[in-house]
Symmetry: C2
Subunit: 271 residues, 2 copies
């Protein structure tokens, strides 16, 4: 149906390795209430954070092919690892706007930081890619970036251990080096991490937390505006359709934690 619409009425494609990118989908729904969304969660191959650049880029390409078939007008990479590894590849190979999470997050952090010392936490793959450093370097030479990989945070969130003694101890271990560096701003460089915000804020008292999802929604709005692709007209409500590569039931259950509305979930096997 959407395929028959005018260019600006086409849906926005958002993808992630799994369920975490729904935080971005939620922000896009809020900021752009007239837009329809097609979300893809690669739940058969989740996580991406411990995989290589070439593998993550291959997966991102397969998903983008799927989204383009669904006639999306823009692609949002709602995954820090995929943004780090695959954004430039997707921009070169797809003829539509591609928005990642790195740049909006860095810009927001730079605007918030007073002492110029910014921390970023993420998966091993994201940290090793140095994507945040490269992006910051383009924007500012005055700010310093300190990175830590937190490989246990995603399993903690996915097992609903977002608080408690174990989670606090793990968070303390990961955040100690950043605390020592005197950061005043922390980029939550993984879509799962906003779920841990209370624990992180307790350890890093007074440090400003950047959840990129809102910044991404704003960056998306700007790009769509520039290209005259913003959906117009009042809709009663926008529609979010989710596709996943593994069990839709399990995804449907956990999705409520991230996206506070019912969604239809369908399974699709990519090859």
């Amino acid at each position: 149906m959407w395929g028959m619409n005018a260019p600006n009425q086409r849906p926005i494609g958002i993808f992630d390795s799994g369920v975490g990118g729904l935080t971005v989908a939620a922000s896009v729904r809020k900021a752009l209430p007239s837009e329809n969304i097609i979300y893809f969660g690669d739940t058969a191959r989740v996580p991406y954070g411990n995989k290589s650049r070439s593998t993550v880029t291959r997966f991102s390409g397969q998903i983008s092919d799927f989204l383009v078939e669904k006639n999306v007008k823009a692609i949002v990479i709602a995954c820090n690892t995929a943004s780090s590894f695959s954004q430039s590849y997707l921009r070169r190979n797809y003829d539509l706007p591609v928005i990642g999470v790195i740049k909006p997050g860095v810009e927001k952090a730079v605007s918030l930081s007073k002492n110029g010392r910014i921390g970023v936490i993420g998966t091993e793959a994201m940290v090793s890619s140095r994507a945040y450093e490269k992006e910051l370097f383009k924007i500012s030479s005055k700010h310093k970036l300190f990175q830590e990989s937190c490989p246990l945070f995603v399993p903690l969130v996915e097992n609903r251990m977002t608080s408690g003694e174990i989670t606090s101890k793990i968070a303390e271990k990961y955040l100690r080096p950043l605390k020592r560096r005197g950061i005043d701003t922390l980029i939550l460089g993984c879509t799962h991490y906003p779920m841990l915000r209370p624990v992180l804020s307790e350890i890093l008292e007074g440090v400003k937390m950047v959840d990129s999802s809102e910044a991404v929604a704003e960056a998306l709005r700007k790009v769509l505006e520039e290209r005259h692709l913003l959906a117009c007209g009042k809709r009663r409500k926008n529609r979010t359709v989710c596709y996943v590569s593994d069990d839709p039931l399990k995804f449907g259950k956990i999705s409520g934690m991230f996206l506070k509305c019912p969604v239809s979930v369908r399974k699709v096997v990519l090859a």
Copy 2:
């Protein structure tokens, strides 16, 4: 080369979602020193423990096709989740011996337990499959089985956190219900768990631990003997070739923790 050999000189195929199944490969090398091994680790899609039956079975079929192309004489499923979900499918669809980790582990536990109370720990998928219960039911009606899923154990091992306060606290949380049940034998129902043995033994003092890998190697020897497929002749040393679906370098580095010998690692993309 191996393809040209007599049936008994063909290699043994072993697969796992990642690196953990190398514990089984190590036991097979030790028990059957004349055999060559082809190992497949599905590192692009690891882990399997949080995925559905249909997805894990699809992956297992793709890997078995690859191993059959490599002319293996038997397939060892060195992964508890894949054994739980896919063993019966592979037995129906492949005309060669298929050995999983469940039955050998259960048999060993039954032979060791004095009070008839056996615990098993594993991934969520494995526990939900009830494969261990079904297997035990075939062997003995006297023994009782108590299961716990331990979703953080694999990330802990893969991040080399096999000891320390955090690991002990997580292990205590998971093992408390089993301790209360008065088990005297614990099946380590995931190939990563033997790495945590010291921590587990400290919490479950006096409880016998079953690492299925040795039992699997014995089950494999028995099947090969029955079918006259044991390799004969003295080799200077057997050969293990590993194939992985993601970065071979990373696999090569971590493999030393599991398999105490150098191996050649090659990448292959399955579809």
